[in-house]
């Protein structure tokens, strides 16, 4: 235990700094992913053919190993002199988040009770009123489940981004591996796990706050 004490004394501020970097990278990627994924998921509910195509493409993206995707990003972003670092990592994380976000938005809205939709149309709601007042509120638990999946997944994947110089907690782990320093590896891993648990809990609280008790039951 004494060793841990000394390790943390030296490294705690660095661990905190890397945790914040990690959180910023993931948050920005999720924010952009939400801006793309939720409107796209909503739109797809009106276009069955496009929905099948887009959902399949998003599924395929998810099957690409993250280390390979980061590798592919390097030559592409080298064209604008951003081959390594934040930009390619950010883009890769946005891509990985798309499947859970688009699919859950799409499925959540599609699965809203058709009689409820019928009542909404029959009462004279316009499409946007129906979406905002009936379909999205009732699909919210499913949509939020997708967002939570994306966040937790991205916190894990962002670790690999350290290999292309994007910073974050992956730095501790990669350094630990190359130096054979178990303290670095373990502290990095625990920090990643704690970050994921905290992020998921916060999102769950947000979900509960915005979901009416009636739907959550």
């Amino acid at each position: 235990m004494g060793n841990w004490g000394r390790f943390l004394e030296v490294n705690s501020s660095r661990i905190l700094e890397l945790t914040i970097d990690h959180a910023i990278l993931v948050s920005l990627a999720i924010a952009v992913a939400l801006l793309i994924g939720i409107p796209l998921g909503i739109y797809l509910t009106t276009n069955q053919y496009l929905a099948d195509t887009v959902l399949q493409m998003a599924s395929i993206t998810l099957t690409i190993p993250s280390i390979a995707l980061f590798g592919v990003m390097i030559p592409i972003f080298s064209l604008i002199n951003q081959g390594i670092g934040f930009v390619p990592a950010f883009v890769a994380l946005v891509l990985y988040s798309q499947l859970p976000i688009i699919r859950n938005t799409y499925t959540g809205i599609k699965n809203v009770n058709p009689e409820m939709r019928d009542a909404a149309i029959g009462m004279g709601m316009k499409t946007h009123q129906r979406l905002l007042r009936v379909e999205i509120p009732n699909a919210l638990p499913v949509i939020m489940a997708g967002v939570r999946t994306a966040v937790v997944m991205n916190i894990g994947i962002a670790v690999i981004a350290a290999y292309i110089g994007a910073g974050g907690l992956g730095v501790l782990i990669t350094q630990g591996i190359s130096r054979g320093d178990n303290y670095l590896i373990i502290s990095g891993s625990i920090a990643v796990a704690i970050l994921a648990i905290i992020a998921d809990s916060i999102l769950l609280l947000i979900q509960k706050r915005f979901t009416k008790k009636a739907i959550a039951d």
């Binding site: 019928d118 004279g124 709601m125 039951d217």
Partner: protein, 330 residues
């Protein structure tokens, strides 16, 4: 008033859902669309608020052709009630009921007042129930809310698609009574889909009996029971249509035609029945009890006579069978 002018709906050349339907729902009346599953009654109903398209013909609502109206505007002027009540679980009862007034941009004060009035109609406390969510209410209460939600913006026309179909028989009976009571006050022009013959007889000013998208008969319930136009109609109402028609007559009617029996104080275990009860219930009561008479009471609760199975039979013979046999000869 809703007029269907030679309305036809085709899905393709061979698939005709509704063929040449032509009838009118008079101002303030209830027309029940009745028929077996797949006869097109719901489709016909949904053509009125343009949830279904019309292939040929037109539907005119209070002088305006439905085709010429914006569908959103049209739907906000028509009350719509569906079987599963279609309440939105994410909204409180008040938000649910006041949805159309809200879409129409009513003021807060107007909405509040209207909500209190509507809740009074169905005997629920506006303050207590307003803030609750639909899942906190019983099935019967939810259906009542579904009905007043359709009445919220005071639309002249209402469409009701098997509104009481999912309720158990006792609650259904009660809500039907309650609804007729409300209708006497609000006098809406109503198109009502049902597959329940007893419900149709009870609720309808006129019944439109459909089969495969064609009108079989359009008549008042008593006419339809007494003079079925064809084999399908008489079969649909069944061999017991004489008994069914009893529900259209009250003890009062019988008293006017053949008079009641005298009250025999010596007979024990005699139940009482109100003079405005229908004869079908009276007959069930007679058959279910030991004594062979039931005492009839008037509004003041005074005994005004007795009724027996013999009297019901005699009345049935005079009033109903007489009409039926006349129609078969003619």
């Amino acid at each position: 008033m809703i007029s269907f002018n030679h309305v036809t709906k085709k899905y393709s050349e061979e698939m005709t859902a509704i063929s040449d339907v032509d009838f009118t729902v008079e101002e303030g009346k209830i027309v029940v669309l009745l028929g077996p599953s797949g006869c097109g009654k719901t489709t016909l109903l949904r053509m009125v608020n343009r949830l279904e398209s019309i292939s040929e013909g037109e539907i005119v609502i209070n002088g305006e052709n439905s085709k010429d109206l914006d569908p959103i505007e049209l739907r906000r002027k028509i009350g719509y009630v569906i079987q599963s009540n279609g309440l939105f679980p994410n909204m409180t009862i008040e938000e649910n009921v006041m949805l159309v007034p809200d879409l129409l941009g009513w003021s807060k004060k107007d909405k509040r007042e209207r909500f209190s009035y509507l809740m009074k109609l169905i005997g629920l406390d506006a303050k207590d129930y307003g803030k609750r969510y639909p899942h906190e209410l019983s099935g019967g209460q939810q259906q009542r809310i579904g009905v007043v939600r359709a009445l919220a913006a005071d639309p002249p026309v209402m469409l009701m698609d098997e509104p009481f179909g999912a309720l158990d028989p006792i609650i259904r009976d009660k809500i039907q009574e309650e609804f007729l009571q409300i209708q006497r006050e609000v006098k809406k022009t109503i198109l009502f889909v049902s597959h329940d013959i007893d419900e149709a007889i009870k609720m309808a000013d006129k019944i439109l009996l459909l089969r495969d998208g064609k009108i079989m008969q359009f008549d008042t319930p008593s006419e339809m029971l007494a003079h079925p136009k064809n084999e399908f109609v008489s079969q649909f109402f069944g061999k017991d249509r004489a008994i069914k028609s009893l529900s259209l007559h009250t003890v009062e009617n019988l008293r006017e035609v053949i008079g009641l029996g005298p009250v025999d104080e010596t007979i024990q275990d005699t139940k009482t029945i109100h003079v405005h009860q229908d004869l079908r219930n009276t007959l069930s009561m007679l058959l279910n009890q030991e004594a062979d008479q039931v005492i009839v009471t008037d509004e003041q609760g005074e005994n005004i006579g007795t009724i027996t199975i013999d009297l019901v039979q005699k009345y049935l013979h005079f009033e109903i069978k007489g009409k039926m046999s006349a129609s078969q000869e003619g």
